[in-house]
């Protein structure tokens, strides 16, 4: 085969995959600008004949509160998880210095625990979680949802940061230890500033995960005013008998923040994803 043909077949294959993969986001984008009549009468994949903003206008009003709720929940959750997780990760790092049997056992147990918290089907903790939240009086409050998310995402933060912290040169930390600096101070002055790119990756990964988290608010929110966007969009579900252009506009509004983060800071998100598989090192 001639190289030119080969190269064009190569790009053709990638183009086909890309088109298939982009169909849903394309459908979401174009149908949000159709009128209600057009959404119901024209194929989903055909662009609107006339662009209208009626869907966005009607959805924005009812999604404003959920969007604010999501921000109130996601911002503290992600920052706290990434930061406290980073502290935990540095602890693992210091444990791996000492080669005593006890510290390696502690490290294994803790590491298994944070992995369990990261990957466990969150649904499986439904009953005890609800009971815990009720007993603390946290049901249907922001603090309750944040607290419940922290149970899963502080360990996630620790797991991801454990991968990123390994890039810091040991000699730097050893030098600080020689001077008698405490680990807490070393973390604040050396480790944390130096692992900033890793911290951003962890932060962004957790922002996207918590923004899209469906189950925790589904269980812990009991009043409509407390719903975050991931739950609020359900009222536009076709399964309840209503198929409107609102569905697409609502989906777009619910995805605009994570999608924008993905488009502009996607490499950090991808690095976060890589950390789930051991940072991609040696794979």
């Amino acid at each position: 085969m001639r190289p030119v043909i080969k190269a064009s077949l190569h790009y053709l294959a990638l183009a086909i995959i890309s088109v298939i993969w982009l169909i849903p986001v394309y459908a979401m984008l174009i149908n949000g600008f159709k009128s209600n009549f057009e959404v119901l009468s024209t194929p989903v994949l055909v662009p609107p004949t006339k662009i209208t903003f009626e869907a966005y206008a009607s959805v924005l009003l009812s999604l404003a509160k959920p969007l604010i709720n999501s921000l109130i929940i996601v911002i503290p959750t992600s920052f706290i998880s990434a930061f406290l997780g980073a502290m935990g990760a540095y602890f693992f790092y210091t444990l791996s210095y000492s080669f005593s049997r006890a510290s390696s056992a502690i490290s294994d147990v803790l590491f298994s625990l944070i992995s369990l918290a990261t990957f466990i089907p969150q649904e499986a903790t439904l009953l005890p979680l609800t009971r815990l939240m009720v007993s603390m009086g946290f049901l249907d409050t922001y603090i309750g949802i944040i607290f419940a998310l922290l149970i899963f995402y502080i360990p996630t933060g620790a797991l991801l940061m454990s991968m990123f912290i390994t890039v810091i040169p040991r000699s730097l930390i050893e030098a600080a230890k020689m001077d008698g600096t405490g680990d807490l101070k070393i973390f604040m002055k050396i480790v944390f500033p130096l692992s900033m790119p890793g911290f951003i990756s962890t932060l962004i990964f957790i922002i996207i995960q918590t923004w899209n988290n469906f189950f925790i608010p589904l269980v812990l929110v009991t009043t409509p005013g407390m719903k975050p966007t991931s739950i609020a969009v359900l009222s536009y579900s076709g399964a309840y008998g209503t198929l409107y252009n609102d569905t697409f506009a609502a989906g777009m509004l619910a995805s605009i923040i994570p999608l924008a983060i993905f488009v502009f800071l996607g490499r950090y998100f991808i690095r976060g994803l890589m950390a789930l598989g051991g940072g991609g090192k040696g794979v």
Binding site: V44, L113, I114, A124, T125, L184, N212, V283
Partner: protein, 285 residues
């Protein structure tokens, strides 16, 4: 160990301990006959499990969960290798990262929103079927027929998660010594031959990671079938998580904890070895 060092791990340890407490509480309750009416629960051993595993919904939903996970692991790995290979042989780094982002972006959107959009795409009149019919392909009933309902869920799951496999295979391929691949190319070896003689045999770690992650992500999936089936009761799309949530909503608490414990157990069997071998190795150095 100094006090300052211990303080570092306290938040992580406390929240992990809460999680462990939740898991253990769940397991303990599953051995008791706790319900709303029974204020003094007593130990009943495996009785709840015996009751629940005999129900049709339990086996049905567990089979669905496993079928979904196994399908995703198989299809995701194959597609992941193919996409990673297509990306690997690109000469431009920029194009590579753009195409990679395209297969990964579904992970940035909530599965609930993805589900809502796919509900429309699965519409047999104006969804993707409209296009299939126009280019002369048969119309597929998707969610309107009980036989294509579950494959439709698998399709969306594959669309959503294959990016993970592609990412790890690509990372694996990129780590293989460039000089070997270059030498093979100079000898006129075809790309396909390089793929299955050099790239794939050196990607065992990528395979393990992709398999574990695809399994774990699909085994915990809840929002997608929840949205696609419009609730928890559609037995053709009911996964273990949906069934457990259904048991909770109808207040069969003991049975819900039993199912939850089984789900946790299956996940743990994968998580712990994965964590201690694959992930752990890279921190220990």
């Amino acid at each position: 160990m100094k006090k300052g060092t211990i303080i570092l791990v306290v938040p992580t340890a406390v929240f992990s301990a809460i999680l462990l407490y939740l898991v253990i509480w769940n397991a303990v309750i599953s051995f008791m006959n706790w319900s709303l009416l029974n204020s003094k629960p007593t130990f009943v051993g495996l009785e709840t499990y015996a009751t629940v595993v005999r129900t049709f919904q339990f086996t049905n939903s567990l089979l669905h969960s496993i079928e979904l996970s196994v399908s995703l692991v198989i299809i995701g790995n194959i597609l992941g290798i193919l996409i990673a290979a297509l990306l690997y042989f690109l000469n431009s780094n920029k194009a590579r990262s753009i195409f990679l982002s395209i297969v990964i972006y579904p992970l940035a959107i909530s599965m609930a929103v993805n589900g809502l959009i796919w509900l429309w795409l699965f519409n047999i009149h104006i969804g993707v079927d409209w296009l299939l019919v126009r280019i002369g392909l048969p119309q597929i009933p998707w969610l309107s027929s009980t036989s294509t309902m579950f494959p439709s869920l698998i399709l969306v799951t594959v669309w959503a998660y294959t990016g993970i496999a592609a990412l790890f295979y690509l990372a694996g391929f990129m780590n293989i010594d460039k000089t070997i691949v270059e030498a093979a190319r100079l000898d006129g070896t075809s790309a396909f031959k390089i793929l299955y003689k050099i790239l794939i045999p050196n990607s065992l770690n990528s395979f393990i990671i992709a398999t574990a992650l695809l399994f774990l992500f699909s085994f915990r999936i809840f929002d997608l079938p929840y949205v696609l089936s419009g609730g928890t009761t559609n037995i053709f799309l009911q996964t273990s998580e949906l069934y457990m949530y259904y048991l909770f909503t109808v207040e069969y608490f003991s049975q819900a904890t039993a199912v939850a414990t089984i789900i946790t157990l299956v996940a743990t069997i994968i998580i712990i070895p994965y964590a201690l071998t694959v992930i752990r190795r890279w921190i220990r150095r």
